[in-house]
Symmetry: C2
Subunit: 184 residues, 2 copies
DNA sequence: ATTGCCTATGCAACTCGTTGCATAGCAGGA
DNA sequence: TCCTGCTATGCAACGAGTTGCATAGGCAAT
């Protein structure tokens, strides 16, 4: 449903092939929407059939031809219509939270290293976001509309990671406290 | 994959029928894992076949019989094994973020009411969490291990909602600033 | 009296998303 | 030289998740 729209946004920002889109979804767009190349190819074919995007074959030597897609007028209109209709609140799937509650029926100490691993991942992501912010938005007073919107989404990612790091510290303190008071 | 484990945790906390589980997933567990009754019934049947849960038919008058499930030893063991293996980082699907970036190719003002709607939803959720915290964990010094773990997960939810509210205010300010500088 | 909602389970059909594999030439390192 | 990895697309099969509908009696309100 929404993958089409994420692809449209990406193609409006910059036309590209399915492969290039897949890599963008691994990087920037993947911050708030994930997709594999399989999904992307399938949806692109459907979108082309619907006239939402236009494709142009680009022959390359030494490597396979690529189909460069760009957003068509019908796609832009579909995006505008989607913008105006309400979206449901996100459905959350937080596996780590399930594990934390599961730890009550097992040894809480067994979770510590797993939580530490997640903490490292989030710390690395925060560092990447902050670096990207420095690089792409050095002067917050000189941004056009598109950049301001990209920036506010990035700020959301940064705040999410900060919050998550603080929470994971809270979780670690709780697990360690429980492990100390439970000398198996 | 993880739905089994979420169900096991819920059944360890309290045995119940498929229907009861579905309602729990609408309430507390649904904070970090969503599931419809269809999924739950299907998975419960599989788990029963695998010996992870045991079912007992409970006849009721005036309404259909129910099957009350409880976690079996094999289920508890499977949960313990799962606790010890790493989970992948969550895959994020943030539709609102896609919309915000899409607003660059349309009228930013068209998004304001949608963002306000989301803001209200998150504010209501935060209020519910804070109320639940008051009710379930009034004295933070007198909690057993299970309650402490439930509480730390709830604190994560509270912090997430607080962060989201602050970010949505940031988004609204950005959208309004852009709308003001773009007198169509 | 009818309408609508609640308990309780389930089938069937569908879409969404993932995984494994295949092709095919080129570049770089062990 | 072989192995790995990159570009570029795609098929096939599967598993996860959603939606619509069905049954079936009870309760409460209009």
């Amino acid at each position: 449903m929404a993958l089409e729209h994420a692809i449209l946004v990406s193609l409006l920002e910059q036309p590209g092939s399915g492969y290039e889109l897949a890599r963008r979804f691994d990087r920037s767009i993947g911050r708030f929407w994930t997709a594999t190349h399989q999904q992307i190819y399938r949806v692109l074919r459907r979108m082309e059939a619907d006239g939402w995007v236009a494709a142009q074959e680009v022959p390359q030597d030494g490597r396979p031809d690529k189909k460069v897609y760009s957003a068509a007028e019908a796609g832009r209109a579909a995006l505008a219509a989607w913008l105006r209709e309400p979206v449901e609140p996100e459905t959350v799937r937080h596996e780590l939270a399930v594990k934390i509650r599961a730890a009550a029926f097992d040894d809480p100490a067994a979770l510590v290293s797993e939580v530490e691993r997640h903490r490292e991942g989030h710390a690395a992501l925060l560092a990447r976001y902050l670096h990207g912010e420095q690089r792409d938005f050095p002067d917050a007073t000189a941004l056009d509309a598109r950049q301001q919107l990209q920036h506010v989404v990035l700020r959301g990612g940064i705040e999410y990671e900060r919050m998550t790091l603080a929470w994971l510290d809270d979780v670690l303190a709780t697990l360690r406290r429980l492990a100390a008071n439970r000398p198996t």
